[in-house]
Symmetry: C2
Subunit: 238 residues, 2 copies
C-alpha cells in the first residue's frame, strides 16, 4: 500500500513539459485548496471508520499530496480534527434550521398549529433525525474532545445558537402557559439530555439491532413522553 502509481522521477530541474496534448494535468506543485480538501477527506474517513480512523497521512494520500503537506495548514492532527468538527457542526446547524424552516406546522400532537411547544418538539425531532442519519458526523460534534477547549469556552458558536433557539422556544411556551414547571433552565437541560442521550445510545451501540424505523419511531415516542411530562394538563391521552 505504499507506492501505487507515482513514478519517483517526476521532478525535472528544467520545465520541459508544457502540457502537451494528452498530458492529464501536469500536477501543479501547489494544490489550490488543500485545506478544504483535507477537511473533506478527513470527514470522509470519519464516515468510514469513526474519528479514530482519521490519520493525517491517509488524508494527505487522498488529497494526492505528500505526508508532510497537511502540517502547513494544521499544526497537529488535533487541529485538523478541530476543523473537521467545526465543519460538521456548521452543517449540523444548517440542516437543523433548514428542516425546521420547511416543516414548521406539522406538529401532530399539540393543539394549535405552530405553537411553541410543538416547535420545541420539532426541534428535538430534527435533531434526532439528523443524528441518526449522520451518526459519525454526530459523534465528532457531540464528543467535545475535538473542539479547542481554550477557545469559546469549548462550545462552538453554532452549538450555542442551537441551544439559544431551544431556550427561546421554551420561554415562549412558558409565556403561553404551556409548561408545568417554571424552571426553564432545568427543562432545557433535561430535554437536551434526553435527546442527546438517545442519539448517543444509538451511536454508541446500546440498541444493537434496530432498523431505522424502530429508531425513528422510538425517538418520536420518547419525545412525546417527555413533552407530555413537561406540559400543563398532561392527561387526555389514555
Amino acid at each position: 500500500m505504499r507506492s501505487s502509481a507515482k513514478p519517483p522521477s517526476v521532478k525535472l530541474p528544467a520545465k520541459p513539459l508544457r502540457r502537451t496534448a494528452r498530458a492529464p494535468a501536469p500536477k501543479p506543485y501547489h494544490h489550490g485548496d488543500l485545506r478544504r480538501v483535507l477537511i473533506d477527506a478527513a470527514l470522509q474517513l470519519v464516515g468510514e471508520g469513526g474519528p479514530d480512523a482519521v490519520s493525517v497521512r491517509e488524508a494527505a494520500r487522498r488529497a494526492g499530496v505528500s505526508p508532510g503537506a497537511p502540517f502547513r495548514h494544521f499544526p497537529s492532527r488535533d487541529a485538523l480534527m478541530n476543523a473537521v468538527a467545526e465543519e460538521a457542526q456548521r452543517r449540523f446547524r444548517a440542516e437543523i434550521e433548514a428542516a425546521l424552516a420547511e416543516a414548521p406546522a406539522n406538529n401532530p400532537a399539540n393543539n394549535p398549529p405552530n405553537n411553541p411547544l410543538g416547535r420545541f418538539r420539532s426541534l428535538g425531532l430534527a435533531y434526532l433525525r439528523w443524528a441518526m442519519k449522520n451518526p459519525t458526523h454526530f459523534e465528532i460534534i457531540s464528543s467535545r474532545r475535538f473542539f479547542d477547549h481554550d477557545k469559546a469556552a469549548g462550545v462552538s458558536q453554532d452549538n450555542a445558537e442551537l441551544i439559544d433557539l431551544a431556550e427561546r422556544t421554551l420561554a415562549e411556551a412558558f409565556a403561553q402557559g404551556q409548561l408545568r414547571s417554571a424552571d426553564l433552565k432545568q427543562v432545557q437541560i433535561a430535554g437536551r439530555a434526553l435527546v442527546y442521550g438517545f442519539a448517543r445510545m444509538n451511536i454508541d451501540g446500546h440498541f444493537p439491532r434496530w432498523g431505522v424505523a424502530d429508531a425513528e419511531g422510538t425517538a418520536e415516542a420518547i419525545l412525546d413522553l417527555f413533552i407530555e411530562g413537561i406540559a400543563k394538563v398532561p392527561g387526555r391521552s389514555a
Copy 2:
C-alpha cells in the same frame, strides 16, 4: 525514555545468583499474574488520559515487562480494551447495587418510603453519581466500542442486569398505579436516555465549568422533573 535501569547483561547461562543478602528480588522470569496487572495498568491509564491514552507498550512498561509480553494474554490492543471495559462494567454494577442496598429508604420526594418509583429514582441517582465521580471509567463502558460486538450481542451481562433491574422496578411502579403511561418499554428507554445523556454531556464537556455541586444538584433536579412527568397526579409541586 528507553532503557532506564536495566543493564542488558542480566541473563546468565548458569544460575550463580542465589538471592544473596540484599538482592531485591531477582525479578522472576514469570510475572505471576500479568493479565490482571495489565488490566489494572490500562485502567489507570484510562483514568489519566482517557481511552486513547492507553497503549499496550505503556501498560507493559508499568507492569515491568517486555513490550511483546501482553500479546501472550491479549491477541490485540482491542482485546485488552475489551477486558478493561468489562472490568469497569463489573465494578460499575457492583457499586450501583451497593449504593442501592445501603440507602433504600431515602427517597425524598415520593410518598411512601421504599416505593417502586422512589427506588427507580434512587437507581438513576446512583447511576449518575457514579458516572460523575468516575468519568473515565464511565466513558469506556458507555461507549460500546470497547466491547466485543460478536459476543452477547454487544451488551455485557452486567449491563443487562442493570437494565433488568430498572425494568422490574418500573413494572412494580406500574402495578401499583404510580405511572401515567402504560408503555413501560418507552418509559424505560426514555429514562435511560435521560440519565445516559446527562452523564455523557458532563463527560463530553457540554457543561464546561461546573462544580460537582452544580452537577449533582442538576442531576437530582432533572431526575425529579422526569419522575414527576411520568408519575400519575403530576401536579402538587407549584
